[in-house]
């Protein structure tokens, strides 16, 4: 008996195709039941996330034939034109196990090393387990995959650093302030990135968020979405003494905050640090403010270069992660089938 998989991912297909193959959580138990009732596989798990749809099967017969059956099932059950299935890939042991381990460890994710996929795969496996669609083979494979993900997380630095602008901003705040729970955030300009940054700061415990924007309606809308309060654009400096972090992303053609304006505002605060995140282009905050005591300024280039460095560090760790995965796949496959297991890799269209 071996583990096979057929699937599609962000690496092989655009979202227009992935969304047509995706399963809603509620539809998965039925799909699994159909798949097993039709004897396409003896065991099955369906993983359906925004970046991938994968059907894992435990089969007793020829893996090549099983892969064809699963591919056909996926196309027919989702009702897509076979011509759109070029991005489907099929793998059998040991590549299928290696792929599963890579997925769970975040090595196949769009954001290298991210952990969200681990939870998604755990939920998919749990769903199949609860509906009795897994057996010895898939239970072993998935449980080993979760262990490998944990090992990779603890033994390598694949999850070190943040690789999105919003997360880097939060990291910076945590390098300056002991705790974010007593910190207030002022968002100047109701842009998408500033919203994400404010949300990230709130998710790490920031106490309060205030939003100001040239259009007060947009400020109100964003403040309401963030659970904060809106301030008039002409009078945001009144709130300045209480602010610890400013996220600025207006479309103003010139600086809205410079040393001459900031200096008297700082005198109204105690001497706690002030973090300025300027994600606007052209910049909202004059770099000269860095000359002021206890003021830390980061612009979009700074944040992106930090994110790029974190990504580089994660990529450096790839080799170590892959070595762990290879070793674990070998221990999982070698006791039962040491020699004959050469594996099938079927690229129905393009490869995984």
């Amino acid at each position: 008996m071996s583990v096979v998989l057929v699937g599609i991912s962000h690496r092989t297909s655009p979202v227009e195709i992935r969304e047509r193959l995706a399963y809603a959580d509620a539809a998965i138990p039925d799909a699994l039941r159909c798949l097993r009732a039709a004897r396409l596989a003896d065991e099955a798990v369906i993983v359906s996330t925004c970046n991938r749809v994968e059907v894992y099967g435990g089969v007793n017969d020829d893996p090549g034939a099983a892969l064809d059956r699963l591919r056909q099932f996926l196309i027919e059950s989702r009702g897509i034109d076979p011509s759109l299935s070029a991005g489907l890939y099929g793998l059998s042991e040991p590549q299928s196990l290696e792929h599963l381990f890579r997925v769970v460890a975040g090595l196949e994710s769009m954001v290298l090393g991210e952990t969200e996929v681990l939870g998604q795969v755990k939920r998919a496996y749990d769903l199949a387990l609860r509906h009795h669609h897994t057996g010895r083979q898939l239970n072993r494979a998935f449980q080993r995959a979760f262990n490998v993900a944990k090992q990779i997380r603890t033994e390598t630095r694949i999850q070190r650093g943040n690789i999105s602008v919003a997360s880097v901003a939060v990291d910076l705040a945590e390098r300056i302030f002991s705790s974010l729970s007593e910190r207030s955030v002022l968002v100047i300009g109701a842009g998408d990135t500033s919203e994400k940054t404010a949300r990230a700061l709130l998710s790490r415990g920031a106490r309060e968020v205030m939003v100001t924007n040239r259009s007060h309606d947009r400020a109100l809308a964003l403040a309401s979405a963030l659970g904060g309060r809106a301030l008039p654009f002409t009078d945001w400096s009144a709130a300045f003494p209480d602010v610890d972090i400013i996220v600025s992303s207006t479309s103003a053609p010139h600086c809205i905050l410079d040393r001459a304006r900031l200096s008297p505002l700082l005198d109204r605060r105690d001497r706690s640090p002030l973090l300025l995140i300027d994600i606007a282009v052209p910049r909202d905050i004059d770099p000269d403010v860095l000359l002021l005591e206890d003021v830390y300024l980061y612009n979009i280039d700074d944040l992106q270069s930090i994110a790029a460095e974190a990504l580089r560090l994660r990529q450096e760790e790839l080799g170590r992660c892959e070595a762990i995965i290879r070793e674990k796949v070998q221990t999982l496959t070698s006791p039962s089938k040491p020699a004959q297991d050469t594996g099938h890799e079927l690229a129905f269209g393009s490869n995984a």
Binding site: D171, L172, I176, S272, E293, E309
Partner: protein, 273 residues
């Protein structure tokens, strides 16, 4: 191992502090990304040997071993490492050890200079009150020393953040706000210990010489040091002079203590009979 003398145990401890200093250089070059447990373990081992050295000497004449310059220096270093081991239980503060180890090594090498321990394990001050005075003031300097280490870390981290160095994000150093709090807390503890130590010194002086104060260089120096640290804490607490200024003040004050302590000690008839 048990045949070693207290000075040999101390020398082994200093050797470990030196090894830890070298390892700290690698950590620094690596941007403080590696695990900091090794620093903690080095200093824990060093502190163990250091404690044995002090205990051996202390038991040899049944008194706290703070009777000459060697012992005073060793005691200050011991206070620093003991305080660090306590603070190092908090994971993010463990890198204090990387900054403290060169200071410990420097103090250790200085203490091992032969002329500082010319009398060997013989008490030069025998009164219990004077021993307590010496112990508390040296513990205070230990706290000031570790405070200076935290302040130095603050300055390094604040500089990296100001200059937007990637190391500021990827280093396993604590946030600058916490470093400032730790430095201020250590200074406050140090000042309390110093105040108590000086009051005991005054009581000893009254008992031995019949006066509360004397125009002795070390006494004047101690009063000046007390004013320095008191001023630093007042400026931070009441006048908002925290952050970089406070950190620089802490480092400079301890630098002053380090460079002048032994000189004033030698000038003092009371402390250097």
């Amino acid at each position: 191992m048990s045949n070693l003398s207290d000075r040999e145990f101390f020398a082994l401890a200093v050797l470990l502090y030196g090894v830890c200093s070298i390892y700290s250089i690698f950590l620094w070059r690596n941007g403080f990304r590696r695990d900091n447990r090794i620093v903690y373990l080095f200093l824990l081992a060093g502190a163990g040997l250091h404690t044995i050295a002090m205990a051996k000497r202390g038991f040899s004449f049944a008194r706290c071993p703070v009777t000459n310059l060697y012992e005073a220096t060793a005691f200050t270093a011991w206070a620093i490492v003991a305080l660090y081991l306590g603070l190092g239980l908090i994971r993010r503060l463990r890198f204090l050890g990387a900054f403290a180890s060169p200071l410990l090594f420097g103090l250790g090498v200085f203490a091992l200079m032969p002329k500082l321990d010319i009398h060997g394990p013989q008490p030069q001050f025998t009164h219990g009150l004077s021993s307590l005075h010496a112990s508390l003031t040296l513990l205070a300097y230990g706290a000031f020393g570790l405070g200076a280490v935290a302040a130095l870390m603050y300055l390094l981290q604040a500089r990296d953040l100001k200059l937007r160095k990637i190391r500021a994000i990827h280093a396993h150093l604590p946030p600058i706000e916490r470093l400032e709090h730790v430095a201020a807390w250590l200074l406050a503890c140090g000042l309390l210990l110093l105040s108590t130590g000086l009051l005991l010194g005054i009581a000893w002086l009254k008992r031995e010489k019949g006066v509360y104060l004397q125009a002795d260089p070390k006494i004047l120096w101690s009063g000046f040091v007390w004013c320095l640290y008191f001023g630093l804490l007042i400026l931070r607490g009441w006048y908002g002079q925290g952050g970089r200024r406070f950190a620089w003040g802490t480092v400079v004050c301890f630098g002053f203590v380090l460079m002048t302590f032994w000189g004033f000690n030698l000038l003092s008839d009371i402390h250097n009979p």
